[in-house]
Symmetry: C2
Subunit: 456 residues, 2 copies
């Protein structure tokens, strides 16, 4: 590893870590109105630092919510342009009494840095900024053109950045995006996430009688929206986890034999996953598919809650007038959210039992995404990671959605390289969030080398 930028990063690592701690001390909890100023303060720290290391146009971009951070360095003619993405907002800290040290007082223990936002996502954002500094300071320039776009609403839906990206601003013209908000599959194992599931999130509202009725007087004559809903939900998915909506699976692009073979060689222990991560009596889902296939490459349907009716302690003998089910489906490559919703809605309306009115609503949706591994930037990332980590990269997918990746693709035509350095046990969104210090250091070096390799 001959990069002088890498040498610079290593020499300056103690300072980088101190700076990260300063950033972590700002309680930029995006969902709590009382931390609005803290969010702006974190954004301003990033703008100032990008200016300091030599970026142009470094500024806040106002949105309906917390501001975006933008900066650019476009002085590498003929070279590709890379769009760096991360987020400076963090999750709330409750339950506070489960933290061993205070969430906004960063503490080192056992090779980890504990603080809210350490891994998700300030540690990764700072790794990007410090990679940029290392390249600029050691060579006076970057190997590629770079635009930086950080947001402060990732934990609350990201409406501001979604609107900005959808407006296709000239500031976001780029060849590739580096999204630093994911994790390694296992400690020490360089990982690129190349697939995400999409989703449709819906509500089914069922109405029976015009008002709540007494179940003694009217039981046997008045329709019960909860019973109707149960009957409908039971027809959406069978007990083998197979979704029963006609045509729902049409068009799915299955993983290639090579990708499946690679997944089989990942260090994954199903029994340990069941016990430690899920903790249920047994795992469920479609037979004939592995856990990784079921969570990464197969559509699923879940019910999140069934509000309405009587929910207190004890007994109330009511036939509620209405019931609501929150139902979402995860979609995989080859599926189109609008099409899936249409099939779902038509089926739900068809299976509605007699006596009730049913309304099906789409709350939001997101596209599935798949990055081809033969993409030149994925290949560049692979070479960089091999050099820094001494191992071949594993290509994984995520069962969740990162909406910004779909937006970059849809509105900007920009593919994303999802190269992240969290670990599965980093406790993001939970007490005692941490970032493995080695991953912070090697993360900076990985980003440096990725940029250098992308220039080739």
């Amino acid at each position: 590893m001959s990069s002088s930028a890498v040498a610079y990063a290593r020499a300056n690592y103690p300072r980088f870590l101190d700076e990260l701690k300063d950033l972590l001390r700002i309680p930029s909890i995006s969902t709590l109105p009382e931390h609005k100023d803290d969010c702006r303060r974190a954004a301003t720290v990033l703008v100032d630092e990008l200016k300091r290391i030599g970026f142009d146009q470094a500024r806040l971009i106002e949105t309906v919510g917390h501001p975006l951070v933008y900066a650019e360095w476009l002085k590498a003619p003929g070279k590709p342009t890379m769009l760096l993405y991360g987020h400076y907002d963090v999750q709330p800290t409750d339950p506070d009494d489960e933290w061993l040290t205070r969430p906004f007082e960063p503490a080192e223990r056992d090779g980890n840095l504990y603080a809210r936002g350490a891994a998700d996502d300030k540690g990764q954002v700072w790794a990007q900024v410090k990679a940029l500094e290392s390249l600029m300071a050691s060579g006076g320039a970057l190997p590629v053109n770079v635009r930086v776009l950080f947001e402060g609403e990732e934990e609350v839906g990201g409406e501001g950045i979604a609107n900005f990206v959808a407006s296709k601003p000239p500031e976001l013209k780029a060849n590739v995006a580096l999204v630093s908000d994911t994790e390694l599959f296992a400690p020490g194992l360089p990982t690129l996430c190349v697939g995400l599931r999409g989703m449709i999130y819906t509500e089914i509202e069922v109405r029976g009688a015009k008002t709540d009725l007494h179940s003694g007087m009217y039981g046997g004559a008045a329709p019960n929206p909860f019973v109707a809903l149960a009957q409908m939900l039971a027809k959406l998915k069978d007990e083998d986890g197979h979704i029963l909506i006609p045509g729902f699976y049409d068009g799915i692009l299955p993983p290639s034999p090579e990708e499946l073979a690679a997944w089989r060689s990942l260090p994954f222990d199903e029994e340990s996953y069941r016990l430690k991560e899920v903790g249920s009596r047994q795992l469920v889902g479609e037979s004939g598919y592995s856990v990784l296939e079921r969570t990464w490459a197969r559509p699923t349907l879940d019910v999140h809650g069934i509000p309405g009716g009587f929910t207190g302690a004890g007994a109330k003998t009511v036939i509620p007038a209405r019931a609501l089910a929150k139902v979402s489906m995860r979609l995989v490559p080859g599926m189109i959210p609008a099409k899936s919703f249409e099939l779902y809605k038509a089926y739900v309306e068809k299976i509605a039992p007699a006596g009730v009115d049913v309304e099906v609503r789409l709350i939001h949706s997101g596209d599935p995404c798949l990055i081809p591994v033969n993409n030149k930037y994925v290949q560049a990332a692979t070479r960089a990671l091999h050099e820094v980590w001494g191992k071949d990269t594993v290509f994984i997918r995520s069962g969740g959605s990162i909406p910004i990746v779909g937006d970059f693709d849809r509105y900007l035509g920009v593919p994303s390289v999802m190269m992240g350095f969290g670990l599965p046990d980093d406790n993001i969104h939970a007490p005692n969030e941490k970032f493995h210090l080695k991953n912070f250091a090697l993360g900076i070096e990985s980003i440096v080398r990725f940029m250098e390799e992308s220039a080739l």
Copy 2:
């Protein structure tokens, strides 16, 4: 109608009505702690009045909640003893802005008296007391022995009276109970309720993962308790309203051909019932049975709510760790609650899908009840009602439960005559509750004549 007591009642009717208005002005809402003293005040008014008209032992009996009212007159040796039951507590008044006049300022309009509690049940309680006064004042004695037992917790579960009755106190030794808390099937139609459904009220708790999980990451592997619950609930009852629990219908005593023929001749318009009372697109329930059969003489199963999970606005992508369903079944004569629960529990446990733990709990239960129409007190009531109303009595059932009727039977061996004077449109438990003034007057006369006929 030669009764001098009836003549007394007619002569004193204006005063009786004024006294009832005074009782209705006391906001004895049993469920609201701030009205605790009002409940006691209403009870005390009743004790004082029973003393005044010549009853012995008139007193409050303390319970865990609001007090019972007890009084007795046992000076008719060789004659039967009648236990009078009613309740002085009332429902809350919300939504208050829908009342045309204030709920605790009784107002006469169109031959009705409007106030919370007018029909349910102070008007009927006062009709009992005024019948007793009419008999005592006109003849110096009652034709039968009488014990009075009023409660103040009918609207909140009646725990106090249930405990008292279960203790089989000597104060409640009687041959028959007169329960005045029901209604006429139609205006001007004398009615006796001779059957009630029983019930079992249950909870099904379903647990999947050890904690809430992200539906993107774990959808396809982690069990979803709401989906499991929907699948189970759908197997409890088919779309024809038929309950699928094996053995559930065993032992049911169907109504006699005569009783069914009598129901068919009742003034009941199914389309008007659907439109005005239920207000649903169509009525539901077992095919082959009329609405009255389905609600009076067939068991039913209803779901009252499914608490747990995400119930807010918008979207949260969670696989909840647990879900709960509130499920009750109405039972008919021939069914035993403990047996029905046992069949239900065994079946629910059997149909639980893989991956979840299921717990089935009984919250409370009540026996179904059927009063033989050839009972001598039912016959006495029929004669009395014919004389006062000029029509043959119709015998109906109720789909609901009046737990005290089952308790009188189970603990005291006392059958109940359910003779009430409400009307189906009295808006009990709703704004603008009313009591038809003619029914108050004829109710007093009916009770007078019932006591006289019971002495024969």
